[in-house]
Symmetry: C2
Subunit: 245 residues, 2 copies
DNA sequence: GTCAAACAAATAGTTTGACATTTATATGTA
DNA sequence: TACATATAAATGTCAAACTATTTGTTTGAC
């Protein structure tokens, strides 16, 4: 019925005021907040209190603080990358395992392909997907596994983007980012890599032909299968995969 | 190739050490951190620095701080609710609109129903779903719209839980929580409420009959339709719906 | 014994003033 | 011009004191 009142701590009040200012647009990205001393004068509190508020805002991810001359607290652009990072950090403290991430990703991408993409996909999108595959192949030839992984994940991220729904794109990116660390810790065999390439190509081909249902199923199986391999490989290398990330 | 070193700020170091201690399990939920003074002695820094670290950890959501005797910083249980809250707060600062949330939710639930539920659903699950509907109806009769909404959202949350995938359950809950504020701000007409009841019932009936594909489609259309109504009603009441949440 | 008020102890919240460190920019010099 | 150096404006840190809040304990009245 009622919610408990708790308005201790001046720093909290300051945090809220700054957040509101950002929400309203009174503070735009790259804007500089007044210096700690000035803020102290404005809010009528000491520098220590201001600094506590700044630490909260910084942890929240809405400002960055630079030292030195021309330093200070600057409003951070809350772009997709920043949001994904923030959410990822929170999720790291939750008891989420790699298999859970994998299934969630596979499901999400299937839904994206089967239901969200058909009305939106363009030949240019297909072209981008193919480019991702080509880039990954080039990195494979150069034995650059980090970049190869990046391009392969890029294939899936590109898929998600076609949905044009920021919430879905965000959720997908969070899952992919958290998953990627597991991929980085196992060495992929050439056959695994080649299979990924051919499955990615198969998905693009099906998309081009308008066979979205099939493409979705191939994608789901692809992710499930690759994830299963990662889990197996991780076990061989005694890596934690079923524990919290 | 290399990443820039940045070892400024002792409070950051302290934050990381505490986070690691929590990750390792050295600090369990409800454990009390030493007092500020003691922490200062342990880390060899002043109380001010300790307090800055504590503000960060608090904003991160891993501790709560109580004042007074027997007060101090206590490790917070990172249960689903806390994680959902944290992620929701981050998302509030992103440019996410209600329609985007609505489509994401509709898609997510369709995938849950069509692909994730079939192998898992039990008669008990159906019973829980029916109970949610009944509770909502009771609240409707009592003209308690807040509780009615809560039970109606509970129907969908119960659905998500059947997936048994914490990542999916989490994503779904975040979206539902963020969406709910829009529902709370418009007054639903009796006909809208009745239609929701009948659609929820229809979904349960289809689930009982094993017609998952159909249930998924009904659910998708139900969410899309209700959301559309919310958008319309909000416009009439001059509420922001297409701007950032 | 029970209740309430007064008191004590522990802890977070805040202030003040000082000094250290970092960084961009201006200044001076070869 | 190029490079070193000084300067100024920030943040980063410290120490010590005082305030506010919460909780436990004692004391006293009934």
């Amino acid at each position: 019925m009622f919610r408990k009142i708790k308005q201790n701590r001046m720093s909290e009040d300051i945090v809220n005021q700054v957040l509101e200012a950002i929400s309203r647009g009174d503070l735009a990205p790259d804007d500089k907040l007044p210096s700690e001393k000035e803020l102290g004068d404005i809010f009528g509190v000491s520098r220590v209190t201001i600094r506590e508020a700044i630490r909260s805002l910084e942890q929240f991810g809405v400002i960055v603080v630079r030292q030195g001359s021309r330093g200070g607290a600057y409003v951070k652009k809350m772009d997709q990358k920043a949001v994904v990072n923030q959410i990822g950090n929170v999720l790291k403290m939750a008891n989420v395992t790699f298999p859970h991430l994998a299934i969630a990703r596979a499901s999400l991408e299937r839904e994206i392909i089967v239901e969200l993409i058909p009305s939106r996909i363009t030949p240019e999108d297909c072209e981008k997907l193919v480019q991702n595959i080509d880039r990954a192949k080039a990195h494979f030839r150069n034995h650059d596994s980090a970049q190869r992984l990046h391009s392969n994940f890029g294939f899936h991220t590109t898929l998600a983007r076609i949905s044009e729904n920021p919430v879905i794109i965000l959720m997908h990116k969070v899952i992919v980012d958290l998953s990627s660390q597991f991929f980085e810790n196992v060495e992929a065999t050439p056959s695994m890599v080649e299979r990924t390439f051919s499955q990615h190509l198969e998905i693009v081909d099906l998309l081009k032909k308008g066979q979205f249902q099939e493409a979705g199923e191939v994608c789901f199986r692809h992710i499930a299968q690759v994830s299963e391999t990662i889990v197996e490989k991780s076990k061989q290398q005694s890596l934690l995969v079923s524990r919290r990330i």
